[in-house]
């Protein structure tokens, strides 16, 4: 065990993956000698050479196009998009190419070895273009896996699993927690399962569901609720696509109430998908309408970031409304 922050856990996972398999290649903007703007790839070029860890030109479309070809060839590319806000120039390559490679060729070709890492989310005074949570755009695309870790231990295990998974994975890293979240991380090479939610805390009265940076906020809200005598079950979805319907269903059947929280805007957000599925499966067991606590249906602001984001108090109020319905 070593005390690590999330960035160190990412760096450690990449190091292990590159040492274990010489076909693993890391690249992106400033990823080489500089180690990426957040230093997630520090020292990898020193250790594994410029051929396996390198800077690319500033061209997200090219980075993912290149990565698709490299994966199809049989290498294991780990491409970094510097901020999730800048993933959209690569949208066509991800949605039309990465996601459909295996399907369209009848499994003659695939890019399953591809992992795309990108920092997402608010809370760092990043304003409009350094704070977005674009997971829902990709959740609408069959063929991708979308994973969001919440702490260093999760990050290492999920990233190693993503790199070795036979499907392409979009790995959204909560950048607010890059240095803020620390914890004990096993030094060994380990993986955590993709597609499985994790019940962090058992409870009786309401299920609180989220992912990534929002888990910390949900945890705080749960503590407030406990003080008010409400028992919360806390679940980290961990994988947005394909998501773990069975685990969420099991919890909602038990508690009879569900609250989902994410930073992205409400309309068309992934909480809507979860809510629709749960009302279909748990309709007669629900004690109150499913609640969503999310960002506003606006672009992300700078000065009023705290007001915009779903926080513990907003969630606490929503919990009370749900329980008192």
């Amino acid at each position: 065990m070593t005390q690590m922050n999330m960035l160190q856990a990412i760096n450690n996972a990449l190091d292990i993956a590159m040492a274990a398999n010489d076909r693993v290649v890391c690249f992106g903007e400033d990823v080489g000698i500089f180690g990426g703007v957040f230093r997630a790839t520090s020292h990898l070029q020193e250790k594994y050479g410029r051929a396996r860890c390198f800077n690319t030109p500033l061209v997200e479309q090219g980075i993912i196009g290149f990565a698709n070809g490299l994966a199809a060839q049989g290498s294991t590319p780990i491409a970094e998009i510097q901020f999730a806000d800048y993933i959209f120039p690569a949208f066509d390559q991800i949605v039309n190419e990465t996601a459909k490679f295996r399907y369209r060729s009848g499994n003659l070709f695939n890019v399953g070895s591809l992992t795309i890492r990108t920092p997402y989310g608010g809370g760092i005074s990043g304003g409009l273009y350094h704070s977005q949570s674009p997971e829902a755009y990709f959740a609408h695309t069959p063929g991708l896996k979308v994973v969001v870790p919440r702490n260093p231990h999760q990050t290492k295990g999920l990233l190693l699993a993503a790199i070795r998974d036979p499907d392409p994975v979009l790995f959204f890293e909560p950048k607010r927690l890059y240095r803020a979240s620390t914890g004990d991380v096993p030094d060994s090479d380990y993986q955590l399962p993709l597609g499985e939610a994790e019940v962090i805390k058992e409870g009786r009265d309401i299920t609180l569901l989220g992912w990534g940076a929002q888990m910390e906020v949900l945890q705080q809200a749960a503590e407030l609720a406990e003080k008010a005598g409400i028992s919360c079950e806390l679940i980290d979805l961990r994988t947005i696509l394909p998501w773990d319907v069975a685990s969420v269903e099991r919890s909602v059947l038990k508690t009879g109430r569900l609250l989902i929280s994410h930073e992205a805007p409400l309309t068309g957000g992934f909480a809507g998908e979860i809510a629709a599925t749960m009302q279909e499966r748990c309709f007669l067991y629900l004690e109150s309408p499913i609640v969503r606590v999310t960002g506003l249906d606006t672009p992300f602001p700078l000065a009023l970031e705290k007001e915009y984001l779903p926080d513990a108090l907003k969630i606490f109020e929503a919990i009370k409304r749900s329980v008192e319905f």
Binding site: V25, G65, N96, S105, N110, P242
Partner: protein, 401 residues
């Protein structure tokens, strides 16, 4: 860190791309004879015959399949007529182990590598033997065995992928390269720029092969780019480039052979611009009479690349009128008979709706398939293809629900 200029000037001095043009490499004249001073590439009788026979096959295939489309037997088709020398000549200059990442008009490349008439038909009709399992429109071929990446409809996406694929080949040290084909219209997409820049910076063994065939659907080249074609763009990326007469099989072959040497031995990307003409419509959904003249088409028909190659082959005594006639007849028969067999074959199984989305079928998809099967069992007459698939499964005991 900016690079210092080679020389300084002290008055505003603007350079203009119009000040130079790129020459066109030509060896074989339309009469089937070599230009003065031109030297034919080292090409043996068997290779020349394989190339020529592939040209005839794709033309027969194109004619028959266009007719089949017009008869309503096929939903869609795209011809390569007029561009056979550019496509087949370049593929023939490669090693069969090199990767091909094509756009959609390169059936000649695939046929040259040995894709059979039956394999073409299975894809065109999307039947149970189609490698793509009936998921894509006709002409979206692919073959892992023949190193031919499955075609994707979005334009130009294959170009940066080819750069990545070739980078992997370089890392693997196998002495292979990748060729990617695209039209001059696709060169307007951002993917083209992204690909050339990535390939040049990372010294990737890839050949960018532009078929400049004059039209991007209905948009003429004059409305597609302002410069002297696609070739000069290579200079901006510090990349070697050659422009070649795309209807001249020998010139295309010689240029691509050298491009492959540069790619594989020097680990450098190369751009080839083949000047040709799309004699046919863009696709079976297009009607060129709305945007270009018959006179223009006729002028290009006189530059038919197959006719030029045929004259040269006959002058080499590698081919004869009698062989031509026999081959044409045999191919027509083969195409028609194979088509009849392919269109009668059943569609892919119902299960193939949910396979290959992921490595394993996730529970949500398994559930959706179960619901769909139950619905089809209730209304089989409304879903004849799906019901047939369920029937087959029942008799073979392959169904789980």
């Amino acid at each position: 860190m900016t690079t210092t200029p080679g020389s300084a000037v002290h008055s505003p001095t603007f350079m203009n791309g119009d000040e130079f043009t790129i020459p066109t490499f030509m060896l074989l004249a339309q009469e089937g004879t070599l230009y003065d001073g031109a030297k034919a590439p080292d090409i043996d009788r068997e290779t020349a015959r394989r190339i020529y026979q592939t040209m005839i096959f794709t033309r027969v295939l194109d004619e028959r399949m266009m007719a089949a489309q017009r008869q309503g037997r096929l939903s869609f088709y795209m011809q390569c007529t007029g561009e056979e020398a550019a496509i087949i000549g370049s593929t023939a200059a490669l090693d069969d182990a090199d990767m091909i990442m094509a756009q959609y008009r390169e059936q000649g490349a695939l046929a040259y590598r040995g894709f059979s008439c039956e394999e073409f038909m299975n894809q065109l009709f999307g039947n149970e033997l189609d490698y793509g399992k009936g998921r894509q429109m006709p002409v979206h071929y692919g073959s892992a065995k023949l190193n031919y990446m499955t075609i994707s409809s979005p334009l130009a996406t294959q170009i940066p992928q080819a750069a990545g694929y070739a980078y992997g080949q370089k890392l693997a040290g196998e002495g292979r390269c990748t060729i990617t084909y695209f039209g001059e219209g696709a060169a307007s997409e951002g993917d083209f720029h992204a690909a050339l820049n990535m390939a040049a910076v990372h010294q990737v063994p890839v050949i960018f092969f532009c078929r400049n065939n004059g039209y991007a659907i209905s948009t003429p080249a004059s409305e597609q780019f302002a410069a002297d074609g696609i070739a000069p763009r290579a200079f901006g990326y510090k990349m070697r480039v050659i422009r070649v007469d795309g209807n001249d099989l020998l010139a295309v072959y010689a240029a691509t052979r050298e491009a492959r040497r540069i790619a594989v031995e020097l680990n450098q990307p190369v751009l080839i611009e083949a000047m040709t003409y799309r004699l046919a419509a863009h696709s079976s959904s297009d009607d060129p009479s709305g945007y270009r003249s018959k006179k223009e088409e006729e002028a290009w028909r006189e530059k038919d690349p197959i006719l030029r190659m045929q004259r040269w082959m006959i002058s080499q005594q590698w081919w004869s009128e009698a062989e031509e006639k026999a081959l044409q007849e045999a191919l027509r028969r083969e195409v028609l008979e194979t088509m009849k067999r392919a269109e009668k074959r059943p569609p892919p199984s119902l299960d193939s709706l949910v396979t290959d989305v992921y490595h394993d079928v996730p529970p949500v998809l398994a559930r959706q398939l179960e619901h769909l099967k139950a619905h089809i069992r209730r209304y089989p007459e409304h879903y004849p293809r799906g019901a047939r698939s369920l029937e087959t499964q029942r008799t073979t005991g392959g169904e789980e629900a």
